[in-house]
């Protein structure tokens, strides 16, 4: 029997979706079943050695990091490994993904990260393969750290926002120093032949002050296997972005990026966000929670063992990611009965009326869940980036359609 989680800490006195009205028992009675979790984010360190001004962990609504242990302890990671294995076994999962995250996960030290990876691998059934990555700012990436990570099969994703002038506008040390030079040093190590196989690619947060083509070309200098460009977290209530909603400045930025990437004679790298839009435009599904209606199968384990929803919800309000569950006491199946996680697996049923009536709702999927938040009504709203999504999706549809027509014409001639 699936344990029922405690009532989530929705804000007192408000009636916000999904916590006000999502009837999970009725959904189940109608035949709906949750998708098993397959991606587990382990917050191995709560602090960061940088002080990026847009970071959703430290600078936005939720400040729960202040109350948590700085570092994940062995009892917590052991419990997390057992719970992941239990979930994999129960749902006969053939593959799971583990993300070592923070704060800055390398603050936990490479040996601790290796011990966590080993604990997860040893706990999982032999029929389940595991893919382990670390997402780091790169500053602490040394030759020794890379050797340890490589020997434990841990792939490395780097957060970098383009060339020095752009990156260092936001990704700084607490004293104001930029981080680009240190990341460049780390990349010189990571891209050596002996380490390149563990290079997963870059995450780049979009800044309208940056040139998208310059940002993209500065990243592909390192020949990354993948890049993703992320919209800065924002919503209708707490973020400056809401004042500009309706002006698709981010959409225009993405259009320029798309054209540069799409028009290359050979594909230079993956851009996850744009690749998933193309997949959706071609009638497929999305593998990213930025767009599309695919169910989210992600759970986060904090340094104290609490199980949370995706941490980007921390941009909405204090406690928005909480479930009231812990790997020390609860199976991950309990999280599958939590309204917050259920809402991420409902497809069109999680969209508001105006989204459902929009012709591109199967492609945008309402946009990133965190970007739909509005105090008082919750997460059933259009994205604060709605105009931007319409702009880039419309452009991608047109370019893909035109290109297929000309490709067919060439094939027939």
């Amino acid at each position: 029997m699936t344990p029922v989680p405690p009532t989530p800490a929705a804000r007192a006195g408000t009636a916000e979706w999904p916590y006000d009205s999502l009837d999970i028992a009725a959904l189940r009675a109608r035949g709906w079943r949750p998708t098993a979790l397959g991606e587990f984010v382990l917050k191995v360190h709560q602090l960061c050695n940088l002080a990026c001004d847009y970071c959703y962990v430290y600078t936005l609504a939720d400040q729960s990091w202040r109350e948590r242990p700085k570092i994940m302890s062995r009892p917590v990671w052991s419990a997390a490994a057992r719970r992941i294995a239990e979930h994999a076994e129960r749902h006969s999962l053939t593959e799971v993904a583990i993300v070592l995250h923070g704060g800055e996960p390398l603050l936990a030290g490479p040996d601790r990260l290796a011990a966590i990876a080993t604990a997860v691998r040893q706990a999982l059934p032999a029929t389940t393969t595991v893919r382990i990555t670390i997402q780091t700012n790169g500053v602490l990436l040394t030759e020794r750290a890379l050797r340890v990570l490589a020997s434990h099969g841990i792939r490395v994703g780097i957060s970098l926002d383009g060339p020095a002038a752009d990156n260092d506008r936001h990704r700084r040390h607490v004293d104001g120093r930029g981080s680009h030079a240190e990341v460049r040093r780390a990349l010189a190590l990571l891209t050596r032949p002996e380490h390149r196989r563990i290079f997963a690619g870059f995450l780049c947060t979009i800044d309208l002050a940056s040139d998208p083509v310059v940002a993209y070309e500065s990243l592909i200098e390192y020949a990354p296997p993948a890049v993703d460009f992320l919209l800065p977290h924002a919503n209708w209530s707490t973020s400056p972005r809401c004042a500009e909603a309706g002006v698709p400045a981010y959409g225009e930025w993405l259009v320029r990026l798309f054209d540069r990437w799409f028009d290359a004679p050979r594909k230079e790298t993956r851009i996850r966000f744009l690749e998933e839009i193309i997949s959706l435009v071609l009638g497929g599904a999305s593998r990213s929670d930025q767009v599309g209606l695919s169910p989210s199968a992600v759970a986060v384990v904090e340094t104290d063992g609490t199980i949370e929803q995706t941490d980007s919800l921390k941009s909405a309000y204090e406690g928005a990611a909480a479930t009231g569950l812990s790997v020390l006491t609860d199976p991950f199946d309990a999280a599958l009965a939590h309204p917050g996680l259920v809402a991420r697996q409902l497809g069109t049923a999680a969209l508001c009326e105006s989204c459902i009536n929009c012709r591109i709702h199967r492609i945008c999927g309402g946009g990133h869940y965190a970007h739909r938040y509005r105090a008082g009504s919750g997460f059933r709203n259009p994205s604060v980036y709605c105009a931007d999504l319409q702009r880039i999706i419309g452009h991608v549809r047109r370019r893909v359609s035109e290109s297929l027509h000309s490709q067919q014409a060439r094939g027939r001639s």
């Binding site: 998708t35 991606e39 997402q135 995450l203 594909k267 009638g283 497929g284 929670d289």
Partner: protein
């Protein structure tokens, strides 16, 4: 899957919200030079041949 079947007219046609590739033949893609579009269409055709549940990955890591 649902969306492609809504717009059957001509391969590559812009439909209500999607572009239909179900009529594209592999011959027409044989001159592929591994552009972004070539690889995207091959992914789509593979997914049509081997359907499986696709989940949304977490955007804050690669």
């Amino acid at each position: 899957m649902h969306a492609t079947t809504e717009n059957h007219a001509v391969a590559g046609t812009l439909g209500a919200d999607t572009v239909d590739v179900t009529e594209l033949s592999l011959r027409e893609l044989a001159f592929s030079e591994n552009t972004v579009l070539d690889i995207a269409v091959r992914r789509r055709l593979t997914e049509l041949d081997e359907p499986r549940e696709i989940v949304a990955g977490w955007q804050s890591a690669l």
